[in-house]
């Protein structure tokens, strides 16, 4: 197999790699200082307390060292990044109101079509730093569901916002969470009233267009008691020769008896550092589910977490990672059991191809006083090429005697016999490999809404193109 050829083909197969001419209404600057932080706050006409939060977080960002574990982050040059890019003056209510280039982007991504077919209850589209399009189904609005971009939510629902903001992820949680808190812009704010069940997913679509862009969206989801919501996000970016940074913070509060499902299909181009902090607090009898698909990016470090705060709470992470040439997917999950009778499960499936590296990094912690806790973790890895790498780094820390914790992991290469069998049935080698990979990730893809499941399989097939031969 020729590596060069595979690389060429792979780049060619990233279907979202085009970029529009960057037109911004506010002249962006590279680099970060407290002036830039204040300027972002001023441009957004924010209340003073938020400006103070940002400035404090900026100091924390400066004081904190870069993480020296996980992946190699030495390629990030914080001085080269654009921290805030405003691409349109006004958020649009219909796709037609958007500037032509931006509308074109979302047309090519198929988002307006999905909305038309009512496959989604609401949609938010973020382009660079801000949400440019937003729409929520009328009946949900009537029930009191709030689905806004985070900037608007701060303006229109300041008390609700302030009550929950930074309650799950404090600004000083880690260096990148501090950075996000200092320069956050965009993201989704969702509030589901007590007892309301949103039957069809809410969707957000994140797009980086500009080279060296830093996207720092901030998402906050609050599910009041007994409510249900499924939120889906997708991410893409063009291919550039120098790197971009995506560093989001997602906080979720699942109040007693509620259920929140959060699905991500991350398909950034291979020059995006994707360093994301995602954490949920699940209270009594609440259920929090993270479905996390990582296909794109140069480096991803992301460990969706659930803090199980109330008796009977349940946490689940389903994680799929695919790393092709030069990619490192350092993904995983954390389950922190603070309360008794809580349970959690983690299923991780990773596929490494070419020189790709996938790492599962996880933590299951049972705190003192949390009785009868159960956790089960299963990590499976599939290696497609000789130079592919797979790591498993699970930590289990148990401070109570009546916990039941189990962890199983396996690493295997694609079976020669399986391939031979399929080929003897007349299946082409590439399709045979893709079939095996699809079968491998099936326990997770079947959990997705049908069109996302199809999309995930298609993305993986695209990424595998050129890997055989």
């Amino acid at each position: 197999m020729s590596t060069t050829k595979a690389e060429d083909l792979q780049l060619g197969s990233y279907k979202y790699g085009w970029h529009d001419e960057s037109k911004s209404v506010f002249e962006p600057k590279r680099g970060l200082s407290s002036d830039v932080v204040e300027e972002i706050s001023a441009l957004k006409s924010e209340p003073r307390w938020m400006r103070d939060v940002r400035l404090k977080a900026f100091k924390q960002f400066q004081a904190r060292p870069m993480p020296n574990w996980g992946s190699d982050l030495s390629g990030i040059d914080f001085d080269e990044i654009f921290y805030f890019v405003r691409s349109t003056e006004k958020q649009a209510n219909s796709w037609d109101e958007l500037p032509a280039e931006i509308k074109n982007t979302y047309d090519r991504l198929g988002i307006p079509e999905a909305e038309k077919q009512r496959l989604i209850s609401g949609v938010a589209a973020q382009y660079e730093s801000e949400v440019v399009y937003h729409k929520v189904r009328e009946d949900l609005e009537a029930e009191g569901v709030i689905f806004l971009d985070t900037d608007t939510a701060l303006r229109e629902h300041e008390d609700l916002f302030r009550e929950h903001f930074m309650k799950v992820i404090p600004s000083n949680d880690n260096k990148l969470a501090a950075l996000n808190t200092a320069v956050w812009s965009g993201g989704s704010f969702i509030w589901i009233p007590e007892g309301v069940k949103v039957d069809v997913p809410l969707q957000a679509y994140f797009r980086i267009n500009k080279e060296n862009m830093g996207q720092f969206e901030r998402t906050l989801i609050i599910a009041e008691p007994g409510s249900y919501v499924h939120y889906v996000e997708g991410c893409t970016a063009p291919i550039y020769s120098s790197d971009s940074l995506h560093s989001a913070v997602v906080e979720i509060i699942a109040k007693p008896g509620s259920r929140v499902r959060y699905t991500t299909i991350q398909n950034w181009s291979n020059n995006v550092y994707n360093l994301v902090t995602k954490r949920a607090a699940a209270y009594e009898d609440a259920t929090m589910e993270w479905i996390d698909g990582n296909i794109g990016s140069k480096v991803t470090m992301k460990y969706p977490s659930v803090h199980l705060m109330g008796r009977g709470a349940r946490g689940e992470v389903l994680s799929v990672a695919f790393a092709g040439d030069g990619q490192h997917q350092d993904a995983g999950a954390k389950m922190v059991h603070h309360a008794s009778d809580t349970s959690s499960s983690i299923v991780s499936k990773s596929v490494s191809q070419g020189t790709g590296r996938t790492s599962y990094r996880g933590q299951v912690a049972i705190q003192e006083g949390a009785h009868r806790v159960k956790n089960s973790t299963v990590c499976d890895a599939l290696l497609l090429d000789e130079h592919a790498r797979s790591d498993t780094y699970p930590y289990m820390e148990i401070a109570e005697q009546d916990a039941q914790i189990s962890h199983e992991a396996s690493v295997s290469k694609i079976g020669e016999e399986q391939l031979f069998y399929l080929r003897s049935r007349g299946v082409e080698e590439f399709e045979a490999m893709a079939m095996i990979v699809r079968g491998f990730i099936e326990p997770i893809s079947k959990e997705l809404p049908m069109e996302y499941s199809v999309e995930l399989n298609r993305l993986i097939s695209l990424n595998m193109e050129g890997s055989v031969g």
Partner: protein
């Protein structure tokens, strides 16, 4: 009096001269001293010491000297003695093997090579198969610190069993290094038991370096000690090597036990299998960490590691950290399994409903739990003894 934390070059030279060691060994000690002096003392901010604060090992205790390590065997054809003597009588063997399994990357291991006085050398020449085990005992008999060192070398196609026991109950810090160098086609079974009293703190580096098509079987039973931090590592350095790492551990009130094992597949067609089982009682802590690392050139490897913890007492805390680092896709199989749980009330209920008294039911379940490990130890006398000790210790507190 000399202590490990204030070790000086003069002290190292003096102890080497007092033992009439050849110059090459003194050079090795000085090299180790330099590494020791250059390395920082680790603290619990580094990954290796995340669960055990290295300050638990009191290094201000004076180094004790003399008569605390012994070796005996009824077997024919094996060379046993102390390392200083062997450095003269079997220079080539010692020179080629010393420091090749446990290097100077860790501060404590470097200290041991610089300052060991108590030592045992066991050499089984090529083609020699021992029909009797070699017995080594390390004793903590006097208050202080001691850095015992054991070097086992098996020549090509040799076969031996070494039983290493640790006894004593003085206020002692033991900084131990056990190196096993197993040459091509040889087979070593190293069975080590820790019967320390609660005042002994034990930091032990046990590493096997496994040659082509050779076999290394390491079993350890950690039954005593205050703070115990053991690193049973294996270096599969040549094609076709096989390693089996087995262990059982038992904790009770006030004890802190950590096992940290690296199985390094650095050559093709190497295989490894590891299983560690522990029971935790009282207010105690046990941590098990295992890493299987498979290098890019190590093709067609197979490995598996298992850790099971039975928590029997409230207040006991456990952590279990099974790592895999697979840099080569050409693996035959690779996996790990880990669990933390309690004695199964359903199984107890079942046995009791069959008229078996609870005490005996507990004994049966503990027996079953640990027998999976001890059954794989090729020295029945030791395996049965360990199993009986485990059962006795657990019955007392659980039934």
């Amino acid at each position: 009096m000399a202590t490990l934390d204030t070790l000086t070059e003069q002290h190292v030279i003096a102890l080497s001269e007092a033992r009439r060691e050849p110059p090459w060994l003194l050079d090795r000690r000085l090299e180790a001293y330099k590494a020791f002096a250059d390395l920082e003392w680790p603290d619990n901010r580094v990954e290796e010491w995340r669960y055990t604060d290295p300050r638990r090992f009191d290094l201000t205790r004076p180094l004790v000297d003399g008569g605390r390590i012994a070796v005996e065997t009824a077997a024919q054809g094996v060379v046993t003695g102390d390392l200083a003597a062997a450095a003269r009588t079997h220079e080539a063997v010692v020179r080629d093997a010393l420091g090749t399994a446990v290097g100077l990357e860790r501060k404590f291991a470097a200290a041991n090579l610089a300052a060991f006085t108590e030592s045992v050398f066991i050499y089984v020449p090529a083609e020699v198969e021992l029909d009797e085990p070699v017995r080594v005992s390390v004793e903590a008999a006097a208050d202080g610190a001691q850095p015992p060192r054991v070097l086992v070398v098996l020549g090509a196609h040799a076969k031996a069993t070494v039983l290493l026991d640790h006894v004593g109950d003085a206020d002692t810090t033991v900084i131990e290094v056990v190196e096993a160098v197993v040459r091509e086609g040889a087979r070593l079974q190293l069975v080590t038991t820790q019967h320390w009293g609660s005042r002994v703190d034990h930091l032990g580096a046990h590493t096997g370096r496994v040659g082509a098509n050779a076999g290394y079987h390491h079993f350890e039973a950690t039954l005593g000690g205050g703070t115990v931090y053991l690193t049973p590592d294996v270096e599969l350095a040549e094609p076709g090597g096989n390693a089996e790492l087995l262990g059982v551990y038992l904790t009770d009130d006030g004890r802190h036990v950590e096992h940290r094992s690296l199985i390094h597949h650095d050559a093709s067609n190497t295989t490894s299998d590891s299983i560690y089982k522990g029971a935790l009682q009282g207010d105690s802590f046990a941590s098990w960490y295992g890493n299987i690392r498979i290098e890019p050139h190590a093709k067609a490897t197979a490995s598996d590691e298992t850790n099971r913890n039975l928590i029997l007492g409230s207040g006991a805390r456990a952590s279990s950290i099974p790592f895999l680092e697979i840099l080569c896709s050409d693996v035959v199989r690779c996996g790990h399994h880990s669990s933390v749980g309690q004695m199964d009330e359903l199984q107890l209920f079942y046995l009791e409903s069959r008229g078996i008294p609870r005490e005996q039911a507990v004994r049966m379940l503990v027996f079953g739990f640990f027998a999976e490990v001890t059954d794989r130890v090729g020295v029945p006398a030791v395996a049965d003894g360990v199993l009986a000790e485990l059962q006795r210790a657990i019955e007392g507190s659980y039934a």
